[in-house]
């Protein structure tokens, strides 16, 4: 069989490391631009909302009966007397390098990234966000683990036992999970397990993993399950649909034609193709959740970013809302980047360019 003409192009070498680095650099630049856009919009809101309410933003920082001199002083300290473009510049500068709010000797240093001063606590927003972030992170991580295991597991089982009792039961449960909001399932679960059966203690926002791991675990159990139920339902449906598609692919038949056992066909060939889109969605979901799970945190009284967000909204704490939004945007944009990079690693057909 000599002299076969070479068909098509020779194998393309995998992307060079420099190309990958260049790609990552470009994407990071994108991230910065995205965050700049979000910062601009939130900054706009900071002025738009008081304008619509016919108030001065400075009034949020002072008491109801503050005298005009004090108000003027605070206005100067916060820089609210300056033109808007200058304030915007100071805001951006504060994000990158930190800024100091000062009116003569009365100086408050707001370290980078300075997202402003909370009108409620009169302290930099950033400090509050970083203080509350672990609560959100633990909530997201725990729930993600549960929903990934149960959601994907149920989906695979459903796909393999299509139209069986297990499949139908799982899909009805999943439909319930997708349809029922957290403020329903969460409250029902609390009523049942905390107040009715008494299996778990009342939620206490003050315990942390460090202070009392046992109580913390009890505290987090219901939030994890409630949040995971919502997501597990979506993942079960997604996994089932993807798995069924994959099982119908020709390459699965090829795998069987090679005489591979069903375990290898499903566990290796089918799962490899099924997990790729699921992990993509997972990255996005996790990124979104790290910015705060507003409903879950408030239903279970967990003082994380979602709690801060709602609190900021109800108390009209604009810098806090801006901070949480920017913080959440950061995680979403980063999650997108990571998912794209991950995709290039797992799917050899994707080339970074």
């Amino acid at each position: 069989m000599a002299g076969h003409p070479r068909q098509g192009a020779a194998g393309q070498p995998s992307a060079k490391p420099t190309a990958v680095l260049l790609y990552i650099f470009r994407r990071l630049l994108n991230v910065v631009v995205m965050l700049l856009v979000v910062a601009t919009i939130t900054f706009g809101i900071f002025f738009l909302v008081p304008w619509l309410q016919h108030t001065d933003p400075v009034l949020r920082y002072v008491g109801k009966n503050a005298n005009p001199v004090a108000i003027a002083g605070i206005k100067v300290k916060l820089g609210l007397d300056k033109p808007i473009y200058e304030q915007f510049w100071l805001y951006l500068k504060g994000l990158v390098a930190g800024r100091s709010y000062s009116n003569g000797p009365d100086t408050t240093w707001c370290p980078a990234p300075c997202m402003g001063i909370s009108t409620q606590t009169q302290t930099p927003v950033w400090g509050q966000l970083t203080g509350d972030f672990p609560v959100t992170a633990w909530l997201a991580a725990g729930a993600a683990t549960i929903w990934l295991v149960f959601g994907v597991g149920t989906g695979v089982l459903s796909a393999l036992r299509k139209r069986s009792v297990i499949d139908r039961a799982a899909m009805v449960t999943a439909l319930a999970g997708v349809s029922l909001p957290v403020y329903f399932t969460g409250l029902v679960a609390s009523a049942l397990f905390i107040y009715n059966l008494g299996w778990l203690p009342e939620s206490n926002p003050n315990v942390s993993l460090g202070s009392d791991p046992g109580a913390w675990l009890q505290n987090m159990l219901l939030p994890w399950i409630t949040l995971a139920f919502l997501f597990a339902a979506t993942y079960a449906r997604l996994t089932r649909a993807t798995m069924l598609d994959v099982l119908g692919e020709d390459y699965i038949r090829t795998a069987r034609a090679k005489g591979l056992g069903e375990g290898t066909v499903i566990g290796k060939h089918a799962m490899r193709a099924t997990m790729t889109p699921i992990l993509t969605v997972f990255g996005m979901d996790l990124g979104g959740l790290l910015g705060g799970a507003i409903l879950t945190e408030n239903v279970f009284n967990l003082h994380g970013l979602g709690y801060d967000a709602l609190n900021g909204i109800t108390k009209n704490d604009l810098p806090m809302i801006m901070g949480v939004t920017l913080f959440a945007a950061f995680f979403i944009v980063m999650a997108n980047l990571i998912v794209d990079l991950f995709y290039a690693v797992v799917d050899p057909r994707v080339r970074l360019a």
């Binding site: 069989m1 390459y251 034609a257 090679k258 005489g259 591979l260 057909r349």
Partner: protein, 361 residues
């Protein structure tokens, strides 16, 4: 059922192991659906000797691929609520496959019998390298083989099927191969365990015309080298013309004509085979000669036309004295080794072929 008791029995269900390498007897594959039972294969019998090539020819939905999947044991949910019902016998080298356990058939798959699929792009896993996919099949049946040994075997195979720089291409993914290369790699994968039966299901249909001949040449060369029996499934008589020793023509899930390749091309008996020959493009013909299509479309496999399934499309159905719509024609031997299922009297058929068909071919 056969009209000729002296010839090899066509259908002798339960007669024990045959002497042929592959013997399919009265194979029926029926799929229950909401609209009724789809009789994809309905009473198919054939045999294949070691080292020989059989071409199975027919339109889409004639039951060709379903037959090959039955031999490979690749039908899913067999006997379950919505799965196919398979009956009859498939004997491969003295072992019956229809009644064999799933595990027994699985151990034969990829080792004793292997398959080349139609579209090599979708038939290969996009996330594993070509080498990994060949090695996997080899080690499945050679668990003692070391990784390095399996890898060099894969490289040898790729070299054998004509892939340049096989030691480099072994680490490529399928999408980095061209269509023809991919089919070569697919063939290498099928040959990994030196199978005695190779089934090629439309191996060239998804390929560029210029590559088709190369792949067919390759299959023929490999068959001579490995001594495997080959079944080539195609809708294109041109594909099997030079490759097959015997040809079996399927229509509506049944065999309507079979015989040696030479016989079928020179003395075809069935009007449907005439139609296939007439619709085959040939380069030795003048351009102004048009192809003669077989009129109509393939029959529904749920409600086959009564009598001969081909009767609505058969231009000569009116010459059978009404039998074509009343009786299902039996497969009878016309000349030794050449069988056809047609109601037309043999003399009438020969006259029609000689006077009306042959001049046009």
């Amino acid at each position: 059922m056969t009209q000729n008791p002296s010839a090899e029995p066509l259908v002798d269900v339960g007669a024990g192991a045959p002497r042929e390498f592959l013997a399919v007897r009265d194979l029926k594959v029926h799929f229950p659906t909401d609209d009724g039972v789809v009789k994809s294969v309905d009473g198919l019998s054939f045999t294949l000797e070691r080292g020989k090539t059989l071409g199975i020819v027919g339109e889409s939905g004639s039951g060709k691929s379903v037959t090959s999947l039955s031999i490979m044991g690749l039908h899913r949910n067999v006997g379950k609520k919505l799965g196919p019902r398979i009956s009859g016998e498939i004997w491969l080298d003295g072992q019956e496959l229809v009644s064999a356990s799933k595990d027994e058939v699985r151990r034969l798959r990829g080792q004793k019998m292997a398959m080349i699929f139609q579209d090599p792009l979708t038939a290969m896993h996009p996330f594993f390298t070509v080498g990994q996919q060949i090695i996997e099949g080899y080690r499945q049946h050679h668990p003692e083989a070391k990784k390095q040994q399996a890898r060099s075997h894969a490289i040898q195979l790729l070299d054998r099927v004509g892939i340049p720089q096989p030691d480099k291409r072994v680490d490529n993914y399928p999408h980095e191969f061209s269509g023809g290369m991919r089919q070569r790699a697919m063939i290498a994968m099928a040959l990994a365990n030196d199978p005695s039966l190779l089934i090629a299901d439309e191996p060239t249909t998804a390929l560029d015309v210029t590559v088709q001949a190369q792949i067919l040449d390759l299959i023929r060369d490999l068959q001579q080298e490995f001594g495997s029996s080959v079944i080539i499934i195609t809708h294109d008589l041109g594909v099997v013309a030079e490759l097959a020793d015997d040809i079996l023509v399927m229509y509506g899930g049944k065999c309507i004509e079979k015989g040696s390749s030479a016989e079928l091309f020179t003395r075809p008996e069935h009007p449907y085979t005439w139609g296939l020959l007439g619709s085959m493009p040939r380069i030795d013909r003048d351009l102004q000669d048009r192809l003669i299509p077989v009129k109509g479309s393939p029959p529904s496999l749920i409600n086959l036309p009564s009598g001969c399934a081909f009767n609505p499309r058969c231009p000569y159905a009116d010459r059978t004295g009404g039998r074509s719509t009343a009786e299902v024609p039996e497969l009878v031997e016309v000349t030794p080794g050449h069988l056809a299922a047609c109601h037309l009297p043999a003399e009438t058929r020969q006259r029609i072929f000689a006077e009306e068909i042959a001049p046009l071919l």
